[in-house]
Amino acid sequence: MQIIAGSILKRVAFQAAPLAMPDNSSVWRHMSDALHQSMYRVLSLLIAILPGLLAFFVALVIFALIGMALSATARRVLGWARFDERVARNRTDINWTPSSSPTELTARVCFWAFVLLGLIVGVSAFDTSYATATALPISLLPYLTHAVGAIFLLIAGTLIARFLARSVLISAVNAQLQYARILSLGVKWLVLVLTAAMVLDHLEIGGNIVALAFGILFGGIVLTLSLAVGLGSRDLVSRSLESHVERTGDRGMPPPTAAQGNVETIRHF
């Protein structure tokens, strides 16, 4: 009886032993299985989108090469057709002439248009392969489009800020305003701040905080300038305006007649 009970007891204890004591090899196996599976998923994803990535770069390079070829062709054709001279003949206003010749501008626009087209094609190819490789319906294309638009906004804003700053500086110096440089810097930073706010808004970063901060900053700058001009620089502005009116009168006065005697006049033209 005792021997049977002991053997039964041994058998039960042997069977209960795995339940009562932890099995280390099983935990490690589960962990390594989990790691292996996640690595497999990621590598599969990478392998799946690799063709899309490659397609992106290939599309970009091919379209850039096409753009370069077309740009060079356009430059030659427009040079042969004397495009610059024809455009110059049709323009009389020099204030908006670009810093590059019309031929050069056209060639550059042609090149960058093809680069942009290559970018769109490449991103579209990448986006397609990414969407098919993953279960999540995530598409990168809209965000990349916003990013490209934001870059264009930034470039345009910077160019406009530089142009306006220089215009204001030269005009203010010719109007003999002592604060010409301050005025020019103020205009430049106003435009740059406006551009930065537009870029952040376009990228949907910050939301209402950016709009509010920009409104407070811009309004504060304008209010400060108004108070400064209205209260603090009143005498300076009136002196500048008076001297400007006197100079305009000197420059535009007719040549002195005998009755006017020794009136000092300059006729520039």
Partner: protein, 396 residues
């Protein structure tokens, strides 16, 4: 027998006068028009004269004169492409041997001056007759500082007033200018400046300068110096750029002109302090813009000038010549926006004016100084040619 045109009220001849002189009067106030018509009636035979004007005129008051109507236009102190187109068309219609184009205030010209201009083109001795005015010492300073020296240095033309508002043209000169004008869109013909002296030089047509005596200068529509200087200088720079193949060939310098007798009394001393302050303000604010256009040598010269006392404020002639040529190069290379470039030239021009007034106040005759400036431009032409051909390599 004359017939009346009921629409315009002008008299048109049944048989057009041929082989005579066509006089084209640019838009001007009616009192000036009356004055010039009196001069013309006295100076020329009415039967050989055809007068073209767009302004309303009481033709009954001038029964002996023949009129041609022109499209109405705004008054301008310079001759534009549209004036040359009209002159050529009417000259073809009337088979005129020569034509005069007279601008506003031309009634102040002596009849002898009108005769000289007309004789030069009617006698076939010249294709282009340009008047040489006797102006007060402080008048026409843009012409003295920029237009005359540049034209003389690059086109080897001794004409003192290359953008004169009165001209005498032969048929072929008018045809040449009309052909160039018609290449422009109609909307731009009223605003585009032409340079008849430069065109005649390039085409090999003969130019004759005629003494015209004193003349009243018309008031620009927009008397702002910024606008006038930018328009005129920009047009000159564009013309020089278009004719680069011509003026880069070496030509014999013109040499000094004969001294012009000064009939105007010397002007009273003028305070050039504001002009010097304007230049100093520009020096402190526009240095970075000027440094894009001017080489270090010129900037150093301007720095010294900014530190000079008003009584010693003298801009060297060769410095001014190099500055103008550097701006011409920057115009061609589009280093800056062209509007900005010409705006940045204004303080430098005012510095030259202050220097010119200071020099003439010290006893030097104004014309002598202007001739010295023009000679400096001729000397520095080689500098312009080198930088034009190798803009990146030759930068002293």
């Amino acid at each position: 027998m004359a017939t009346a045109n009921s629409t315009t009220g002008m008299t048109t001849p049944a048989e057009p006068a041929t082989g005579g002189l066509l006089v084209l009067l640019t838009p001007m106030p009616s009192e000036q028009l009356e004055g010039i018509l009196e001069q013309l009636s006295g100076a020329f035979q009415p039967d050989s004269l055809v007068i073209a004007t767009g302004d309303g005129i009481a033709v009954d008051a001038w029964p002996s004169l023949t009129f041609e109507p022109l499209p109405s236009a705004e008054m301008s102190v310079t001759l534009t492409a549209a004036d040359f187109v009209n002159a050529h068309q009417l000259a073809e219609k009337h088979e005129s041997r020569g034509m005069l184009i007279l601008g506003p205030e031309s009634g102040s010209l002596a009849p002898a001056a009108l005769h000289r201009l007309a004789d030069a083109v009617l006698s076939a001795s010249a294709d282009l007759a340009v008047p040489c005015y006797d102006l007060p010492p402080r008048a026409g300073l843009v012409n003295s500082a920029i237009l005359y020296p540049v034209t003389r240095a690059l086109f080897a033309s001794p004409v003192r007033f290359p953008l004169a508002i009165d001209l005498g043209l032969s048929r072929r000169m008018a045809e040449r200018l009309a052909v160039l004008s018609q290449r422009l869109p109609a909307a731009n013909q009223r605003d585009t400046l032409f340079w008849p002296v430069n065109e005649a030089s390039v085409c090999g047509l003969s130019i004759q300068e005629c003494e015209a005596g004193s003349r009243a200068l018309p008031q620009p529509v927009d008397p702002d110096l910024n606008t006038v200087l930018a328009n005129v200088t920009g047009a000159l720079f564009a013309d020089v750029e278009a004719k680069a193949a011509y003026w880069q060939r070496a030509r014999r310098p013109v040499g000094s002109r004969p001294p012009v007798p000064q009939t105007h009394a010397a002007d009273a001393p003028m305070d050039i302090g504001p002009m010097i302050e304007s230049f100093r303000l520009a020096w402190s604010n526009l240095q970075e813009i000027w440094s894009l256009v001017l080489p270090p040598n010129s900037l150093l010269g301007l720095k010294r000038l900014s530190m000079a006392a008003p009584e010693n404020f003298r801009m060297p002639d060769n410095l001014w010549a190099r500055i103008v040529f550097d701006f011409l190069l920057a115009y061609r290379l589009r280093t800056l926006n062209r509007g900005h470039l010409l705006g940045a030239l204004i303080p430098l021009y005012l510095a030259w004016v202050a220097s010119h007034i200071g020099i003439t106040a010290s006893g030097v005759a104004p014309e002598r100084h202007v001739e010295a400036v023009a000679a400096a431009f001729e000397t520095e032409k080689a500098y312009l040619v080198s930088r034009w051909r190798w803009p990146d390599r030759f930068n002293p």
